[in-house]
């Protein structure tokens, strides 16, 4: 009796441990349902993209247009939150359950799909459909190209990252928008003295901190440093200018340049945007899509002329070209290689018709974005005209339009980068440690 008792308890002990294991395993299997539909041969294709304003309604409208024009072929969309989508799409592709159309940011993530032969090469198709290619900005194809072949169609908008500021707060404090990095340093104590945070920052999201580093590095050291990192040159981060830039960033943190509690603010909830339009913060470095959010959530903030914007100012004595910008040269849509021929045809039809039509262009312009489609200038009218013209000018006037680091690098290197950036802002690593950590993952 003792024996059977013992083994039963033993078994229970093991079960408790294994329950933990099962719970952990469940973390990984929260992948897609069978909506990838790789096996279905009916006239429908699936499409996954991001949810939320201002993009989702425009994406939905495009699909509705397509479905209406092609009654016997349907596109079934699904929308996910930004951070959740990044994991979900990876898991789905890995499990061979990818949707027909894979929405993405191009760059390193796209390259990992290409390495796994998960996406279709569109080079020949674009060659045959030159009319489609001609409608899209040439500079946007770069991040959709891997090893000289196009694997993703640039869609939606060109999104440079800019410095936004709250004009009303500047008026209240009686100061002028910064013309240089030195001006920024002068402004910080002035805002802090009035109880207004100089900069809003959603530090928990990490890529928000990265936008700061992208500009600081470019203005301080020029665009070559990251080009070398991107091309996998060993020791690329070991540049005295990089150390100088990292020290400046940590000085900003120490000098209370960012909102109190920035490391618990997330971008997904748009809390950083709210800080700017409520006047709790004076400035914010963010992607141009922020304009649409400020407009949608900020009441009459944008309408009443409260929002100002500019390209990130130059650093005194820095090497970078002040016209340079960073951001997303476009969003990208790929076709899953696991999709059936019929599904691929639907996707290609969607690419060549709806995604390059005038409604699509007008829709994105209306949302406050600069479309990747050419000849949008005439559409820049009304309230958003000045913003759109400025963004288009920044995008086209930039000597270098660098892709956001976390998108350009491989997921492995990007994760290390984001991790170390978070620690840098938290003062958990020194600039030298940061450089060493980052040198270790170059080319990985």
């Amino acid at each position: 009796m003792f024996n059977s008792n013992f083994s039963r308890r033993n078994f229970l002990g093991l079960t408790a441990g294994a329950a933990g294991a099962a719970a952990l395993a469940a973390c990984g299997s929260s992948g897609p349902s069978d909506k990838g539909g790789s096996g279905s041969s009916s006239g429908s294709a699936s499409y996954w993209s991001l949810s939320g304003e201002p993009g989702q309604p425009i994406r939905q409208a495009a699909i509705d247009r397509f479905n209406k024009a092609n009654p016997d072929t349907k596109i079934a969309p699904e929308f996910f939150q930004n951070d959740a989508y990044k994991q979900k799409i990876k898991t789905a592709i890995g499990a061979g359950q990818a949707p027909t159309m894979i929405w993405g940011w191009g760059g390193g993530g796209l390259k990992s799909y290409v390495d796994a032969s998960a996406v279709v090469d569109l080079t020949d198709w674009l060659g045959q459909n030159a009319a489609v290619k001609d409608k899209i900005l040439t500079s946007s194809f770069g991040a959709g190209t891997v090893n000289g072949k196009v694997y993703a169609l640039p869609i939606e908008t060109v999104q440079p990252i800019v410095l936004f500021y709250n004009k009303k707060v500047f008026e209240k404090v009686g100061v002028q928008p910064p013309q240089s990095y030195g001006d920024i340093l002068d402004l910080i104590p002035k805002f802090n003295a009035k109880g207004i945070a100089p900069f809003s920052l959603a530090g928990q999201s990490r890529w928000t901190n990265m936008m700061w580093l992208e500009f600081m590095l470019d203005r301080q050291a020029g665009s070559e440093v990251f080009d070398n990192v991107f091309s996998g040159k060993a020791g690329s981060w070991s540049d005295p200018q990089v150390l100088e830039m990292l020290t400046k960033v940590q000085d900003l943190v120490k000098g209370k340049a960012f909102i109190n509690g920035f490391s618990s603010v997330t971008a997904d909830s748009n809390a950083d945007q709210a800080l700017l339009y409520t006047g709790k913060a004076a400035m914010m470095v963010h992607g141009s899509w922020s304009f649409g959010i400020q407009k949608a959530n900020g009441g009459d903030f944008v309408k009443s002329g409260g929002l100002g914007w500019m390209n990130f100012p130059p650093i005194d004595g820095g090497k970078g070209d002040p016209t340079n910008t960073v951001g997303n040269p476009g969003q990208y849509l790929s076709i899953s290689s696991k999709a059936s021929a019929a599904e691929q045809d639907i996707a290609k039809k969607f690419f060549s018709t709806t995604l390059v039509d005038d409604d699509e262009k007008a829709g994105w312009v209306k949302s406050g974005g600069v479309p990747v489609l050419k000849d949008a200038d005439s559409l820049y009218t009304g309230d958003d005209a000045q913003f759109l013209k400025d963004m288009a000018a920044i995008a086209s006037g930039a000597k270098t339009f660098a892709q956001s680091w976390d998108q350009a690098l491989s997921p492995t290197a990007a994760e290390t980068l984001l991790d170390n950036i978070a620690k840098l802002f938290q003062l958990q690593v020194t600039p030298q440690q940061w450089v060493d950590n980052m040198n270790a993952v170059i080319g990985k």
Binding site: N5, A116, Q204, S263
Partner: protein, 307 residues
């Protein structure tokens, strides 16, 4: 003296434990065993296999021997993650156990509103961890949260942005969520204690405190072990809560093993090292469960001597 006899319903006859333990009922374990093999053992073997490979989660799986293991064990983040896991485990146990026992004892004795209070206390357990995390995150937001809303100065801390405070908040939210559950377990255990024991001690002149330490605590020893096992092994797998609340931050201050595993596997596309961490987690879980079981003694001594 016979009038002091306890109500018979509450007393479990010790002899009943002997029934139904013969070998012929082994087949009753089969359904559970099948589930366990399908959702426990097989994935576990899969993870063990993956830990000896290099895989980005998308392309082909390449066997790579011990590469993933050396990379994992050499990673300076691993000791830190183990420390954070241990810290959360120890602190949440230390906070939850005394409070749960006290609430449990209180609920067991407080007869009038017991049903009502028990339901009330159970509510946090019904909410999903993600919902709780999002709510607390909003409440603790330094710029738009409770502190800013009511103008309470001491509430305006950088709750989730300061390394020490973030761990504290985490422990608080974990406790808030799970104390009700453990209180219920303790309440049940305390109600199982024969009232005759308390009556006998009363005659011997024992006060409330003495009764608590000499009767209640020893009598719920096995419940403490059960509840502790659930807490300790459960805390190894805290993921959703931390992920939503702090994302492992600030920096890596709250990056426990489960989070480290997720980050390696699903963010950095390093399934090999992520599987190694998963194996470490499983081993730690089994080890801790066994250890706690042993702490409880052999389990065949009687707690009911003389009752």
């Amino acid at each position: 003296m016979t009038t002091l006899a306890p109500p018979a319903v509450r007393v479990q006859e010790p002899t009943t434990a002997k029934g139904g333990r013969s070998g012929s009922v082994v087949w009753m374990a089969i359904p559970a065993l099948l589930m366990f093999i399908a959702f426990g053992v097989i994935p576990l073997l899969g993870v063990l296999g993956l830990s000896f490979t290099t895989w980005d989660g998308i392309g082909d799986i390449h066997p790579s021997g011990l590469d993933s293991w050396t990379a994992t064990l050499k990673d300076p983040e691993l000791p830190h993650a183990i420390w954070v896991t241990f810290e959360i485990m120890a602190l949440s146990w230390l906070v939850q156990t005394p409070i749960s026992i006290l609430i449990g004892v209180f609920l067991a004795a407080f007869k009038k509103y017991r049903g009502f209070l028990a339901v009330l206390y159970f509510i946090p357990l019904l909410l999903s961890s993600a919902a709780i995390s999002i709510t607390y995150k909003a409440l603790l937001d330094p710029n738009f949260g409770l502190g800013a809303g009511f103008g309470v100065e001491w509430l305006k801390q950088d709750w989730l942005g300061d390394s020490k405070l973030a761990v504290g908040v985490l422990i608080f939210v974990v406790s808030w969520q799970y104390i009700p559950f453990h209180s219920l377990i303790y309440q049940g255990a305390v109600r199982q204690i024969p009232t005759s024991m308390y009556e006998a001690s009363m005659i011997d002149g024992a006060g409330r405190l003495r009764q608590f330490f000499s009767i209640t605590l020893p009598q719920i020893k096995y419940t403490i072990i059960t509840s502790s096992t659930l807490m300790v092994v459960g805390s190894l797998t805290f993921f959703d809560l931390i992920y939503v609340l702090t994302g492992g931050g600030p920096g890596n201050a709250t990056r426990a093993l489960a989070l480290q595993m997720y980050q390696k596997g699903f963010m950095a596309n390093l399934m090999g090292p992520a599987s190694c961490i998963a194996v470490i987690l499983v081993l730690a879980g089994v080890l801790l469960a066994q250890l706690l079981r042993r702490l409880g003694g052999r389990g065949d001594e009687s707690q009911m001597e003389g009752v």
